[in-house]
């Protein structure tokens, strides 16, 4: 049976259709999920897509983290469901407390959209098993509030426990501490990152197809399970 990957649409989500397309291209059945429902429709994995949920007013991801569906996401993540937060989705995961730290205004104060080199630091998560640890990939980054911050002890702990998932290489676009582009939870089922793997699934429309691996990874994790 085809695995089902759900993508949540919040009001103001923008890259939801892109995430659905990436899931489909990877071989999954894409499923649209609605912020206002208390229902994950039995999907095998959930993506919180990029965008400006609620306009990113107040703080990026803050209002969305209280959406009805987030209660379900939090519970399911605790039970091991693979959850991926991309950009705004990463911000929502941090605001919801599923991942530590926060994402704040870029150090350069501008929105930055560029093709970004990343190093895969953790290849043993539900979303990164397709990559070799240390592999470099090129994926678009585009955000105005993408600077990852956390207090020193949290950062040290992330490093010590191998929970930095992706790091910027060849230039840090937003001043993120320790060049952190993405992190994971301890179990490895929850991953959040600022860059956009769903925009790197076809060299025709993106800088590479390097991002598809994240969606393929999660499919393989079901097969293995």
């Amino acid at each position: 049976m085809t695995a089902r990957i759900g993508v949540i649409t919040f009001p103001g989500s923008l890259d939801d259709r892109d995430a659905l397309r990436a899931a489909r291209l990877a071989g999954a059945e894409p499923v649209s999920l609605w912020h206002g429902d208390h229902d994950l429709r039995g999907v095998d994995a959930v993506v919180l897509p990029g965008g400006f949920s609620y306009g990113d007013y107040l703080r990026a991801g803050a209002i969305a983290s209280f959406a009805p569906i987030m209660a379900e996401v939090v519970a399911a993540a605790g039970a091991g469901l693979p959850v991926l937060g991309i950009c705004n989705g990463f911000q929502v995961l941090c605001e919801a407390g599923l991942l530590p730290g926060a994402l704040i205004r870029n150090a350069g104060l501008h929105f930055v959209c560029r093709d970004q080199r990343l190093r895969v630091e953790s290849a043993d998560t539900a979303w990164t098993s397709e990559y070799a640890a240390g592999a470099e990939i090129v994926v678009p980054v585009k955000n105005g509030e993408g600077r990852y911050v956390a207090d020193e002890s949290t950062l040290d702990q992330l490093e010590a426990t191998g929970r930095v998932a992706f790091r910027y290489v060849g230039g840090n676009p937003n001043g993120a501490l320790r060049d952190i582009a993405g992190i994971r939870n301890e179990a490895g089922n929850v991953v959040g990152l600022m860059p956009h793997p769903e925009h790197a699934i076809d060299p025709l429309t993106g800088p590479s197809a390097d991002g598809l691996g994240m969606f393929v990874s999660v499919l393989k994790s079901f097969a293995a399970a």
């Binding site: 892109d18 400006f52 306009g55 990113d56 929105f111 930055v112 585009k142 925009h199 699934i201 993106g206």
Partner: protein, 738 residues
């Protein structure tokens, strides 16, 4: 009804004596205060096109035969058939004056406004572009204006989830007190999804969707964009409109769902003149009447007067016409999206637009008198007294670089000059990836997007203008802008189909400016006829002047082309070393109005390069055929800065150098701005077939050299390392604007 027995303040509202008299004749009485306010905004230059109408007619009269136009000029935006049952709509519009007052919000609401125009046609907006002009880059106000405008364009477009796929940034002293902010939006729909702005069907309900109405931009269009902007008169300053892209995003999704489910019979966005415009236009075009109850309009501030409510330009609002039986479904869809929706009136058989306030009819007018029968002026125009002297002052006497070192120095200086330097500082602030359909965007010559997921069909778009050329000869200048956009679309491999334009000029009350306008429109209309691409819509912005000094006349032209298969798109940068580099088209000694004359001598005089429209068509045919046959690996048009700049840009895209050998005068070869030229690269194996195509179309071709290495080499003249070029090219904007 208050029929105003006392003198009415029509002059303060911008109405002339005879215009006021006409209103009285139409109504058979004096207008009420509310009616007067409505006529004042609807008959303003901005809304009525009263000074430009007689000239704009040529776009229709001279339009080339075409069967691709599904909706022509006159609607919110034209609709073009691109095949496979798909249609696109696109339009460019100005938000110049508001952007000077509040750069961020002015630019942001400019994007918001044009996006609603596209949505109104029934289309899903899928991309935006922006054409920007400012004073000198080192002007003390530039950082505020450029920074604010770029952040505003990005802030709104990014939050709306529309990729920004191209545009322009130009610096010239004439725009210092009058920046130009022109925004374009592209939308896609299936043929059967076209919506029209009509109120039809007696008893149908009028539903206002989106943001609450506040005191934003009251009198904005009539006052701000329809008179010379004068910093000294703050009383003329209307309150600024603040954009709410989040609300616009949910309004878009909500409207698209309403269209999809067939729940609206007509729709119109609220832009300039707010409800005055939306109600009168839909009623007029539907040949019906309408009764609107202003008390039902949701307000941000309860104390608003009827005049304020009906002229407010609050953003993010749409007016939908809905069958009574569908009202509940419409409100349900709106609730799901969190969009406020209110029935505020209904379609009637009176053929009158009637507005009720506190139970009293305060407006009772024929809708067409507001929407379509405003005043029309054939304003006097005359060739400016200094035009001959300007044209006589050619660039012939300017000192030219002679040695290889001087040529290299000139090339470097141009590559780092404000108008030719890398736009990355700007374009990095725009999301070009969202929606996943962007095939080409900056730094390529045109933006290319795939239209829908299940088809490889795409469109290419370019937006170009050159105020200096237009100053020297507005007729030729408009054609050169058209030709450049046409060429940019062609180098990507697309077939040019249709045109939009934004005409930015000074005061129409100045005969010199009016002459520029008349010549530019004539040139553009003739050019579109000759290139076989119809104008589908556009926008006019007058009164762009500070005191008596007008901006350079600036027609900005957008050309849209279609690619049957986006996989065949041709990028503007070199893609591999070892390709043969060829120049298509003929080079003449044409330097008047050039970037070289401006950057190295501060000179503007003479006559611009000759528009060579037949040659543009042939060049375009060569490029399309070569793209279809997958012969060329890269194609880049030649425009500002000439061949030198084109090779620099093509090389820097992916850091592949180039070596060329130039025949004749290397200065002319490198820096002339002759039109109808492009550089292409191809593999050795494809050269013969390419030459055949070129010969078939009677286009001149010159073999220049090869790609490769890490420098820009001109045999016998100079070798410039790409690193040096990149540093020079990319540091200019950040240095001045960060």
């Amino acid at each position: 009804m208050n029929d105003g027995m006392s003198e009415q303040p029509y002059a303060e509202l911008g109405l002339k004596d005879d215009e006021y008299a006409r209103i009285c004749t139409i109504l058979g009485r004096k207008p009420s205060d509310t009616e007067l306010a409505m006529y004042s905004v609807m008959w303003s230059e901005h809304c009525s096109y009263k000074s430009s109408k007689v000239h704009l007619r040529q776009f229709g009269d001279k339009a080339p035969e075409t069967d691709v136009l599904l909706v022509g000029m006159g609607e919110n935006a034209g609709v073009v058939d691109v095949g496979d049952g798909l249609a696109v709509t696109f339009k460019v519009e100005s938000h110049n004056h508001p952007s000077y007052v509040e750069p961020y919000q002015g630019a942001a609401t400019g994007v918001g406004g044009i996006v609603r125009d596209i949505l109104t046609m029934g289309a899903r907006p899928i991309a935006v572009m922006d054409s920007l002009r400012f004073g000198e880059i080192d002007h003390p106000d530039s950082r505020r204006l450029v920074g604010g405008v770029v952040a505003g364009v990005g802030g709104y477009g990014n939050c709306l989830g529309l990729p920004n796929i191209g545009g322009e940034v130009v610096f010239d002293p004439s725009y210092a007190g009058n920046p130009l902010v022109n925004a374009l939006c592209l939308g896609v729909m299936r043929h059967e999804q076209i919506q029209l702005a009509r109120a039809e069907g007696v008893g149908n309900k009028v539903v206002l969707l989106g943001a609450k109405t506040g005191r934003d931009g009251i009198g904005g269009v009539s006052v701000l964009a329809s008179a010379t902007f004068d910093e000294e008169s703050p009383s003329k300053r209307p309150s600024v409109q603040v954009g709410d892209p989040f609300t616009e995003k949910v309004v878009i999704e909500c409207c698209l769902e309403l269209f999809e489910r067939g729940l609206v019979t007509g729709i119109q966005d609220l832009g300039g003149a707010g409800l005055s415009c939306a109600t009168s236009e839909t009623a007029s075009h539907g040949g019906s009447g309408m009764l609107v109850d202003l008390d039902l309009v949701p307000l941000r501030e309860p104390s608003m007067t009827p005049v304020e409510v009906i002229t407010s330009e609050s953003q993010e609002r749409m007016l939908a016409i809905v069958r009574p039986g569908d009202v509940d479904d419409v409100l349900g869809v709106c609730t799901r999206w969190g969009v406020l929706a209110t029935v505020i009136g209904e379609v009637t058989d009176t053929r009158r637009l009637q507005v009720r306030w506190h139970g009293e009819i305060v407006v009772d007018v024929p809708p067409a008198s507001l929407a379509d029968e405003g005043p029309v002026y054939d304003r006097p125009f005359a060739r400016p007294a200094d035009q001959d002297a300007l044209q006589a002052d050619t660039s012939a006497a300017l000192a030219r670089p002679k040695t290889g070192a001087e040529l290299a120095e000139t090339l470097l200086r141009l590559a780092g000059s404000p108008n030719l330097a890398s736009r990355k500082w700007v374009t990095e602030q725009y999301d070009r990836y969202v929606l996943g359909g962007t095939v080409l965007a900056m730094p390529h010559d045109s933006g290319v997007v795939r239209l829908v997921d299940d088809s490889d069909r795409g469109v290419a778009l370019s937006l170009d203008g050159n105020g200096r050329y237009a100053r020297l000869d507005p007729y030729a200048g408009a054609q050169l802008a058209l030709a450049e956009a046409y060429r940019n679309v062609s180098v990507s491999g697309a077939r040019p189909l249709a045109v939009t334009n934004c005409l930015n000029f000074g005061s129409p009350e100045d005969p010199d400016v009016m002459w520029q306008f008349a010549e530019a429109t004539r040139g553009l209309a003739d050019g579109c006829r000759d290139l076989g691409v119809p104008v589908t819509g556009g926008n006019v912005s007058f009164y762009n002047q500070t005191g008596a000094t007008a901006i350079l006349p600036t027609p900005v032209v957008g050309v849209l082309g279609v690619l049957d298969d986006v996989n065949l798109r041709v990028p503007s940068g070199f893609v591999r070393a070892g390709d043969v580099v060829m120049l298509l088209g003929e080079t003449y000694d044409e330097f008047d109005g050039s970037e070289w004359a401006w950057v190295t001598h501060g000179h503007l005089g003479g006559r611009p390069p000759l528009p060579r429209l037949p040659a543009e068509r042939q060049l375009s045919n060569v490029l399309q055929t070569a793209a279809d046959e997958r012969l060329i690996s890269c194609a880049h048009d030649l425009s500002d800065g000439g061949l030198g700049q084109t090779l620099v840009e093509a090389a820097l895209v992916s850091g592949i150098g180039v070596s060329v050998t130039l025949d004749g005068d290397p200065f002319v070869a490198l820096f002339s701005e002759s039109a109808a030229r492009a550089v292409v690269t191809c593999a050795d194996a494809d050269v013969d077939r390419l030459l055949e195509i070129v010969a078939d179309h009677d286009v001149a071709v010159t073999r220049l050299g090869r790609t490769g290495g890490d420098a820009f080499v001109v045999t016998g003249e100079f070798a410039l390392p790409l690193d040096t070029l990149r540093e020079t090219h990319e540091s200019t904007l950040p240095r001045h604007l960060s």
